[in-house]
Subunit: 225 residues, 2 copies
DNA sequence: GCATGTAATAATGCATGCATTAATGCCGTG
DNA sequence: CACGGCATTAATGCATGCATTATTACATGC
């Protein structure tokens, strides 16, 4: 039995998971429409659980349910990216500040530091996928250390929405050298309990990431992803 | 025909609206469980649209769908309130800063300023409901001026979750005199284009509101609402 | 008397079919 | 030839019934 839990998952939950995979992998491309019955056939179940899954994913901002036109996979515009990165900036910097205020010891921050060494390893090997994976884990862990479950949930949703765009730009962007220095400084601020500094550094980190990404998209005329 | 739109609403949408009303009015009390079939009978429709509405509201954090136990109306703990007010603080202060950066003129801020005069009128008449209503409109309008649709959506959800708690404490709290001064200062910072100041003032405003509310709940032993 | 296993029960989860309704194409008219 | 109304079509929205499964109560054995 896997650690994910061997509990018998309902078809509705399976549909959510499968649809997410199909969206992230690009098999259901951004902007495309799909009838409930098509998706039901594709997933080997009836329309009911597919419909429920569609409603769930609509609440997560990944698609839109439109009467008689099927579900539309929502594309991400540059404006969307700006919005999302602003939300991430505000919430993650607060999480960093809160993490700094918790008095975490070296042991509590082990996981966070491991993501940094993984990023460095990824950078050294010029393995962008490995770096990106570790970067995701850094941000997830940082938010977790902030101790606000709602921030965790919101951030996860926002990250989902930019997932496609990130994978597209991953190979276009320069190697993120500054990024790693930022991460290291955030950890140090948390260690020393300097909430204001943790917040400040992380906000600048996110602002820089936003600018880099937006410019990249504009330069490459990627107005919709 | 009302401005809300006379379009034939689906039962599923009606169910969402009615359930929200029932939750906010306390007819479905926090912590209570309700079978899908009960709710369906109550709303005069079949289980299907009720079930869909329940999934939607679960995504909004208002209730929880539990197999074989019906839907549970989620109570709000003090920890929840802290989380929510921290999210509101982070996102609304960013909205205030962004609003200050938009170069809004007197005309753009008319709606915002009207909410302040309404609050003052409510205060003068010691009409707490009128004050609270204007206060809600102030925050909604402030976030709208920030120009980030995701922030608007997230803030609206958070506000929904604390709605019951707010109405309980509305008559316990002292008259919010400082609150109005804060609002006025935020508007002035936005007018003068001072983003940092708008952010700062509003963050302090939300922090003070949070402390006041949390203390009120603790003093009155209201650990769950 | 308590614990364990089993059977009855009841609520969800899902499939199916029909009614509703918006979109599309066609026909008739100006 | 273009425009407008009507019929056709097709996809959703919803109700219904059944299968699945967790829970509870009861009986039996220790």
């Amino acid at each position: 039995m896997a650690t994910t839990g061997g509990k018998t998952k309902s078809n509705s939950v399976i549909a959510v998971e499968r649809l997410r995979e199909l969206i992230f992998s690009g098999e259901l491309p951004a902007g495309s429409d799909h009838l409930e019955s098509e998706l039901a056939t594709r997933l080997g179940m009836s329309r009911t659980p597919v419909r429920e899954a569609a409603l769930t994913l609509e609440g997560q901002g990944l698609l839109q349910v439109r009467a008689r036109k099927g579900v539309r996979i929502l594309p991400i515009s540059i404006k969307d990216m700006e919005e999302i990165y602003d939300v991430l900036s505000a919430l993650e910097s607060m999480a960093a500040a809160n993490a700094a205020g918790q008095g975490y010891g070296a042991n509590d921050l082990k996981e966070l530091e491991k993501t940094i060494t993984d990023m460095e390893a990824g950078l050294a090997a010029e393995n962008r996928e490995a770096w990106a994976d570790a970067d995701d884990r850094f941000h997830t862990e940082l938010v977790r250390l902030g101790g606000n479950s709602r921030v965790m949930a919101i951030v996860a949703r926002m990250v989902d929405q930019v997932r496609r765009a990130k994978s597209v730009t991953l190979h276009m962007r320069p190697l993120p050298l500054q990024s790693n220095r930022d991460h290291q400084q955030v950890v140090e601020a948390i260690k020393s309990g300097d909430a204001a500094r943790a917040r400040q550094i992380h906000a600048e980190h996110r602002a820089a990431a936003k600018d880099m990404l937006i410019n990249l998209l504009r330069q490459n005329r990627l107005h919709m992803l």
